[in-house]
Amino acid sequence: MSNLRLISDTTTGTGVEQININDVFSADFDIYQIEVTDFVRGGSADAWFYLRYINSSGSVITSSIYAYAFWQMRSDGTFGQFRSTSNTNSQYTITTSPEAGAMTMYIFNPFLSSSYTFMANEHSCWDDAPHVLMNGKQINVLPQTSSITGFQLYSSQAGRSVDNARIKVYGLGVN
């Protein structure tokens, strides 16, 4: 039996601006792998989707406490960083594109009340203008010790959306 245990498998509808993945983090696992595929844009413009966490009360955490760092690598030779120590979300998590971007993200200790929640992700997708390949590496921390049970990906721009994205959440089991 694989120690990589599938916890949830979600496919969004079309024109979705906000994806809530609830009740996936628990005391059963400390490390989670999230695979995001088929991240095809809805409408005619790409959109960055940002990450926020959901607490055990089902509330999305929106206070200015997220710290993140993002390193962007574009095929037109443009490399750059984005970072913050006090943001209301973890920005630049993945962007939509006609070519369906994808991402692998690890989340550490979300349910542990003795640790902050940490994340590391790598994504590969396409930028809008200019239309170039864009790879990204990102980390973040939610500096709270309350138990986190889910996460939200949401469009940074109203009216821009994703069609039929697939989000799989796995736990890394320890025997």
Partner: protein, 173 residues
């Protein structure tokens, strides 16, 4: 992670130790995943790793090269590329106190090929010197041929005081 990911070893630290070694007693595969979380330590230095062969014998020669991008929320990103090292520092300076733990994933590639170098990619997320979130994303190479069976973690100085390291192998892919 296509195929099955099968746990081969795990170590949860319950009291301060100088190092943690986890290895596969039946090394039949080429790709391994090391997952670690909630690692705390006794001093503000870096956490390093070395590959092992046989029953956990570390390779400590100056044969490790590394290139990594260091991400940090409170300071500009930079890169590191040390060569001919006797181990791989994949964290920079960590504090690892209470809630500011060290976490990450290392993929080991070519492990079972005795006539090839062993490669690894690593990605981490932790606090840098108590300031804010930081992490290395990059890779390393052991420029020596061996059947790599696992990995040893240790502090540059001081001890590892808590946390878990788990070694998985990928089979059936």
């Amino acid at each position: 992670m296509a195929g099955q990911l099968v746990q081969v070893a795990t170590n949860t630290i319950t009291s301060a130790v100088a190092s943690v070694t986890i290895y596969d007693e039946n090394p039949t595969d080429n790709r391994y995943i090391v997952a670690f979380n909630n690692i705390l330590c006794s001093s503000a230095t870096g956490i390093r790793y070395r590959f092992t062969t046989g029953s956990g014998t570390e390779h400590s020669g100056s044969n490790y090269d590394q290139t990594s991008r260091r991400l940090q929320a409170s300071a500009d990103t930079d890169h590191t590329a040390p060569v001919n090292q006797n181990s791989v520092n994949f964290t920079g300076v960590v504090v690892g106190t209470t809630v500011q733990s060290v976490n990450g994933i290392i993929e080991i590639i070519n492990a079972g090929l005795s006539d090839q170098y062993t490669y690894a990619t690593h990605k981490g997320s932790h606090f840098y010197n108590g300031q804010s979130v930081a992490g290395y994303q990059g890779g390393a190479c052991l420029k020596a041929t061996q059947v790599t069976t696992g990995i040893k973690f240790f502090m540059q100085s001081g001890n590892l005081t808590s946390g878990s390291f788990t070694l998985y192998k990928q089979v059936g892919s």
